[in-house]
Symmetry: C2
Subunit: 439 residues, 2 copies
């Protein structure tokens, strides 16, 4: 493999193996460069389907692929599983927890993370949904909540276990709330004897005046109808003011309302990776790096920032934090690296808006593609098609289709396991140790 | 559902949802009893295939099924996810961390756990393989070891990351060592650029004079040949005397040998669940409960102990700690409950020895079924057939077959993800947090 890579080729370091970083890496496959793709995780994650892992519809293997397997055949790319701690733009060097690496070109695609708007202490009570680990954590919490409700004798406490609050009415929040309501109403419905899972309350709290605020108001309204049909309670103009392990307090207009809930999920906002701020360059108010039209850093043409970490206005509109935008930016970043090698000037980024989609439970979705506005089953089929198409690698596509077909026709979810990596058998399968519902 | 269950029916509490407890529960489906199946986990686990999860060949969903789904259609059975802390035989009461439960009949099937022979401090360095959590922990450690080796510049330290020690040469140890050697030699072989995964050392250390000691010596010898062909290093008469996160020290005959290894797995022994000892009844030297021929406790005909926790000699031979034995005991326990309800006396247990099997990598196994001794591909096909047959529920059978077919023909393992449940995105996908190889 190494024989096909020349030690004199320029070193390109790509930070982040998400849609942007992976797309840049793959589009440099035939360029005379040595690529090092660095990620803290060992896998590329298909984030748009993460909520399906969190609601036990898909197993992790269906939406994640090891980066090494994806890049196995690309001779000029190496993968390094490491966490970046600093970037020295002047010295052109990236520092990890172990060691460092010099670069000739840097493609920074470190993405975004949950934003609690200054309330980072809420993170323990309400995990977000950005990583596989968080999705598994949410899945464990949801399944444990039903188990705890089944054990609980006190009615008020039982109701707190059976109340699920999703904070944030964007696509992630809407998809999560719909899927949670479905798992309670169809999958788990016959599993319990003392509680009726179908009586679970799923509350979707949105701080703004309507859900799916980035969609056409008509599609928002359709999503509201679809969610209500699924039994989701919608609260608009509802801002979280307090949160702890027993529930949330919402400011709804002038009044405060306390919701007793043992399971709160945060889908209210993201902020850019802190690596952006560490560069010492101008940022937008979300902490994203303001880039030149060609995605480079002002004064540092050898550095390009792409994906959720980049802030750019094209044709008067900000480029959204969506997978297609990150993929397109990755392609241009790769192209500009190749052009620089040939002594050509960098090209500016043009965004091709492929539209946005959100599902609302089984068989329904809303889609906004150019002038097209779709809802219902047609939108859902579009959603299935687009997501299968984008899934990296044949194997995942095949397994996701199989799992979905199974779940669709059998009303069953196979991934309903509560499991945490760890040496949990130290004290025996039974015997005093810890409460099963601690989380 | 509850309408089909009479509140006056006797209460049967079954502790443990493994092969024994589940078999007893299902065979009481038509009896006029109210069953409460209690388990600390929410799933039944197909333990014979756990090593395939630990070596990334199968995802957890393939070998585990939620207990509630398995028992969904059994109207007289409830499931309680709880950890048992005490059993009061005189008061006929089981105490959990939350609340307690009285019983008329008790079926105790709490199983076994890892035994470190008095060195419980070794557990952190060398997890065993009894639960899904442990299997995921081992999978994470193995995959992280290769990642750390790829990063490591120092040769001695790199070799320690690429040395895997399996302690214990029983079926679990043999299957694990074979599968580990295979994942290094075929699946991961093209994934890395700096290390050669095929150069990984897999060492199987057995304290006795031969591996698979419970099998015919000829089959042991065949297993040795098969393992060596896979590149596994075998050490017989090798007893662990010291262990820490840097490696193990073995006593081999008269001399001591230190093996630098960052990944050690414990498959050397099991002991009975501590619930057995808490009863205050006679135990054998492995801590298992000595039961009457009808599986009941002396002086407590209303209590039956089955599976790995029971110690019983039938026809001059101890009943082994295998899934078929636990299943057969579960069936008899259920039968004796039904007989007691009709005023009939309990029947003694007869063990039908269905033989033992162990695989050694892809396409090879050894099998001992009655007078039959099989090895090679025929034994492996037998193994596949038997395991698919026993898997609980059509869905799992179907998925395991698909996964296996895929892995067999594609030499690929889909479950190669490093993921831990937890809110791991608190500090962003990148940015200072923790070393990725901590474990």
């Amino acid at each position: 493999m190494l024989s096909r890579m020349d030690a004199n080729w320029p070193r390109v370091v790509v930070i982040g193996g998400g849609f942007g970083g992976l797309s840049a890496t793959r589009h440099l496959a035939r360029a005379p460069v040595r690529i090092m793709l660095v990620d803290a995780h060992n896998h590329h994650l298909f984030q748009p389907l993460l909520y399906q892992v969190a609601t036990a519809a898909l197993p992790p293997t269906a939406i994640a692929s090891p980066l090494r397997r994806i890049l196995r055949g690309q001779a000029n790319a190496e993968v390094l599983m490491a966490r970046v701690v600093a970037i020295d733009l002047a010295a052109r060097r990236v520092t990890f927890e172990q060691g460092d690496l010099s670069y000739d070109r840097l493609i920074l695609a470190a993405g975004s993370t949950d934003s609690y708007f200054g309330h980072d202490d809420w993170a323990a009570a309400a995990p977000g949904l950005k990583s596989l680990g968080q999705a598994l954590e949410i899945r464990n919490r949801v399944l444990r909540a039903f188990e705890a409700a089944e054990r609980e004798e006190d009615q008020a406490r039982r109701e707190a276990w059976m109340t699920f609050v999703v904070v944030g009415g964007g696509p992630t929040g809407v998809e999560l709330a719909g899927a949670l309501s479905e798992i309670a109403r169809s999958t788990l419905d016959r599993d319990f004897r003392r509680i009726q899972p179908a009586e679970a309350r799923v509350v979707l709290a949105e701080a703004g005046s309507r859900i799916l605020g980035s969609f056409d108001p008509k599609l928002s309204a359709q999503a509201v109808r679809d969610l209500m049909r699924l039994g989701v309670e919608l609260l608009a103009d509802s801002k979280v003011t307090r949160m702890d392990s027993e529930g949330v307090t919402l400011q709804i207009g002038d009044r405060e309302q306390r919701l007793a809930s043992r399971t709160v999920i945060w889908a209210a906002g993201v902020k850019a990776s802190p690596l952006g701020a560490s560069l010492g360059v101008p940022l937008d108010r979300s902490g994203r790096v303001l880039v030149q039209p060609d995605l480079s850093l002002a004064g540092h043409p050898e550095v390009q920032v792409i994906g959720d970490l980049a802030s750019l206005v094209v044709d008067g509109k900000p480029v959204p934090g969506l997978a297609p935008a990150a993929i397109q930016e990755g392609i241009l970043a790769a192209r500009n690296v190749r052009r620089a090698l040939k002594g050509q000037s960098a090209e500016p980024f043009h965004y091709w808006d492929k539209g946005t989609l959100a599902t609302i439970g089984r068989g329904r979705a809303v889609a906004q593609i150019g002038p097209l506005r779709l809802s219902g089953f047609v939108a859902w089929l579009t959603w299935v098609f687009v997501h299968i198409l984008y899934l990296v690698g044949f194997r995942n596509r095949y397994f996701v289709l199989t799992e979905w077909a199974f779940a669709y026709f059998m009303h069953d979810r196979g991934a309903r396991l509560i499991a945490e990596a760890g040496n949990d058998e130290l004290d025996g399968a039974e015997g005093p140790r810890r409460t099963p519902d601690q989380s």
